[in-house]
């Protein structure tokens, strides 16, 4: 398999837009499927994985697995329906965790 540095995982075909700019795109309908794909990508030394928000919120155990490692970086991106605020909520949660209260 060719080495993949950047990947984007989404539930529907709109994720193929990322393919046009050189990000490898993968369709995963369910979180379980996405989990397998992420495992393969991580084993293949993938650096950054952009994961659609709808999948991201249901994959806490997968994210936990890579939390302590610097790579792969897995971050949520909004889908075609627009942002559900997952990314911003994550930032707020981090502040809460680190400072003890949300000061942003």
């Amino acid at each position: 398999m060719e080495k993949i540095d950047l990947a984007a995982i989404g539930q529907s075909s709109e994720i193929y837009l990322f393919n046009a700019v050189g990000i490898t795109t993968i369709i995963a309908k369910t979180p379980q499927e996405a989990d397998e794909k992420i495992r393969d990508l991580a084993n293949g030394d993938c650096k950054v994985i952009y994961l659609e928000e709808a999948l991201y919120i249901n994959m806490s155990s997968t994210l936990e697995r890579y939390a302590k490692r610097a790579f792969p970086i897995i971050i949520p991106i909004p889908s075609q329906e627009g942002s559900k605020g997952v990314g911003l909520k994550k930032i707020k949660d981090n502040v809460q965790k680190a400072i003890g209260m949300d000061i942003l």
Binding site: G22, V48, I73, I75, I91, L104
Partner: protein, 226 residues
């Protein structure tokens, strides 16, 4: 708070005092580490927040263009246009050390401005071109966002861990040491006092015995001289 299970001896007392000094020094160091991590974290998280908002807005605009393109052309045609990447992105990655946490850095290795579109323009709408060009311009920011978010995640976890350690030392370990040292000091003082009292008692007993002996001899001497 609880007393430690130690014998109240001078040896233990000096060990406990050394332990207390070490934990106070450790507490100060960890507290400093925590303060510095929070300072760095605040700098990064603000940048992360503004970048995240910017990217979500831009991605929403790109997706809107893409939806319009999807409506005006067939699925097969769209897939055909998108399946050939216009460039392959290569990234260089490294790790940066922030307060002994290894955080990632990501950079595009081959960034040469705008990309060339790889499909014919005859059957594709201009919205698609716009969406792809905007997304390719957004790519460095997307990588920066990944780097910042991961750094924030790792820092947040480590700050929480350090805070727990600082609190454990400050509110459990140091008070335990202090209480135990106080206890051992009191025990030693008590045994000192009891040793002194024992000596005083022994001395008074001996003196009393000597006194009666002297009185008896004086009596005998008086009887002998009569």
């Amino acid at each position: 708070m609880a007393l430690m299970n130690v014998n109240p001896t001078r040896m233990e007392l000096s060990k406990l005092k050394a332990g207390l000094a070490t934990s106070q020094r450790g507490h100060k160091l960890l507290k400093d580490k925590q303060d510095e991590m929070i300072r760095q974290f605040m700098l990064i998280i603000r940048e992360n927040q503004s970048l995240r908002k910017e990217i979500e807005d831009e991605l929403a605009a790109i997706m809107k263009k893409f939806s319009t393109a999807q409506l005006t052309m067939s699925y097969a045609g769209l897939m055909e246009a998108l399946m050939v990447p216009s460039k392959s992105v290569e990234v260089t990655v490294a790790t940066k050390n922030i307060m002994s946490i290894k955080t990632p850095t990501v950079q595009v290795a081959n960034s040469e401005g705008d990309i060339d579109l790889t499909y014919g323009f005859a059957f594709t709408p201009s919205d698609l071109d716009g969406a792809i060009l905007s997304l390719s311009r957004l790519l460095p920011k997307l990588l920066k966002l990944a780097e910042l978010e991961k750094t924030c995640d790792m820092l947040a976890v480590d700050i929480e861990k350090t805070r727990r350690r600082v609190n454990a030392i400050e509110y459990i370990m140091i008070p335990d040491y202090e209480e135990t040292i106080h206890f051992v000091n009191q025990k030693l003082d008590e045994s000192d006092r009891s040793a002194t009292i024992r000596l005083m008692k022994a001395k008074s007993l001996i003196l009393a015995k000597e006194e009666t002996e002297r009185a008896r001899r004086a009596k005998e001497l008086a009887a002998a001289t009569e």
